[in-house]
Amino acid sequence: METKSIMIVGVGGQGSLLASRIIGNVLLSQNYDVKVSEVHGMSQRGGSVVTYVKYGDEVCSPVVNKGEADIIISFEQLEAARWLPYLKKGGHLVTSTQQIDPMPVITGVAQYPENIIDKIKGLGVDVIAVDALALAEQAGTSKASNVVLMGVVSQKMGFDESVWMQALEQCVPPKFLELNKKAFALGREVK
């Protein structure tokens, strides 16, 4: 199988590391060769962060370059716009509708673009936009919006729900498992 590429993008602190670990475990359980590339350190402090997940028969490079991503999962609208050039033609974008102003917008030297999702759809991109934060809060905590998005993307990636549940069990502390399962289920129902 040709190597498939997924990107998880967002703002440092939104929980993209957990998301990448869940997907990585799902893929490993399906006997794919998998590489997951994370960013630690400075850029984690509220900066734009990206995690790459690649799988196939043999994965070489751990990173995804422009025009290569089959799926981009975005935790925040502006980040979806930022990383859009990485999406392959015909690829899917799953994005949370959450907006977090970056510092140049807060200090007033830049503007947060309006109607980002509509503009991306206007480019002919397949977009699923979901209020992941609201669904996560419905599940019990705003922190689970990453797992809500896993639920959404699970529809695009295939694999049995049980496989995803198993990966959740591997990656989430038992204390938070039920809550995260609920968050996942809410994401999986999104149309």
Binding site: R21, G46, G47
Partner: protein
Amino acid sequence: MYMKKLMLGNEAFARGLYEAGCKIASSYPGTPSTEITEEVAKYDEVYAEWAPNEKVAMEVALGASIAGARSFCGMKHVGLNVAADPLYTAGYTGVNAGMVIAVADDPGMHSSQNEQDSRHHAIASKVMMLEPSDSAECKEFAKAAFDLSEQFDTPVIIRLSTRVSHSQSAVEIQKREERELLPYEKNPQKYVMMPGNAIRRHPEVEERLRKIAEYAETSPLNKVEINDTKIGVITSGVAYQYAKEALGTKASYLKLGIVNPLPEKIIKDFAAQCETVYVIEELDDVLETHCKKIGLDVHGKDTFSLMGEISQAIVREKILGEKAEEIQFPENVPVRPPVMCAGCPHRGLFYCLSKLGVMVSGDIGCYTLGAAAPLCAMDTTICMGASVSGLHGFNKARGEDAEKKSVAVIGDSTFMHSGMTGLVNIAYNATNSTVIILDNSITGMTGHQQNPTTGKNLKGDPAAAVNLVDLCHAIGIKSVRVVDPYHMAETEAVIKEELAKDEPSVIISRRPCALLKYVKHNPPLKVNENKCVGCKQCLKIGCPAISIHNGKCVIDHTQCVGCGICKEMCKLNAIED
């Protein structure tokens, strides 16, 4: 036991240390190397510690090796500069039990102040260096390094990079091979490096390099992969993965697992089989220079950059002339630089410094973000500890006026690493400098490691804690003050008082990192819309939780930890509990 697991390169490296029977690990945290030591600490059979700096860590590892235990030290690329002193002489002494050093380079500077290429240290110290390209190799190379260290009587450096350290790929787990301590015998000719002995060790070092180069000709760590021979690629580390993904079977590969010393024959033989040879390596032209030295006609930095990371896209474009199609968002996308977290104790302190308009001699840590807008409260950042010593130099050069208008800022861990010696210099050589220690009770930037001031060791067990106030007094600083940076008015007053004094002083700005699990937070604050006039005063502290929408300030309840700094900023009392 057979089991395949997704592991970070660093985690796999730690597994390799464990399986190889490593007994002692001493490191200083540094992105992207930190997790090796954190992971190896999880194995009870390995003693692991955070040393105050990389020089100490390497000396601990060498001491353990001389004592007969397989040992390890890990650091980031700039850490190896700090540890260069023991490294260069450890090259002369060699080892007793195996000693492995991990150094993690950061091409692209994801989390570093420069992008130096650590291979130069291996060449200059004449120490063997290996370079893995994925997690499985991290484990395999770590194990091989111990054997090679003992076989050739040398420390062995393993060069990692951000993409190798921080990528997860599948690793097969094996059992630990328990090893008895090797006998320790006093051997001053080998271990006392005074001129008379060192002069006899140097020829051994040269002979060892020759032997390792000979070994490298047939070592399984160097791999030849012949496909289409129109293009030949000589490469190492993650650059191999980029080349392989871009070119697949359209090229042949010589992947060098041993990057110092480099072999000659295997490279010449490979080049002879290929029409055009490219050397693909990140950062400097180390492999290329060697190829040219042995008379080969290769392409290298005429095609690829000396700066930043390589990628499959770059290889595809430069060698095949292919470029992927891109979808562009039709508008300008504002940048999102990293910022101090909501509730960060450094924020209040930097706001005070910004307001006072003093020259700020900065250092390495989360607080380097104080340089960013809107606080803009940092003038210099060079390396660990340079804030303190640099301030002394600045003040010696510019005199009394400068002393009244300048401070150094340095974190607790960085101060223990190499700030203390600078403070000794301030006291001893007398400038009326003001040094602010940002004591957030943890090593923050690298992800919460304990340090000698926190009262806990790497395993989280209680440990002796350096008392910073007593330490500064002992150094000879009489005026030592402690402030809480959440109380900005008081903090500002103390800074002003200390700047005015005709003696050196230290201010300890003390409050634990807001991300520490034990730190209890207040509920998120709210903006009273009836009181807020949108004056933007609260935006001056650069808190990521505060933004302005429809002319009113809004506090993001998912980020706010109720630190109250913004409340102190708001003159209209519009921010409420």
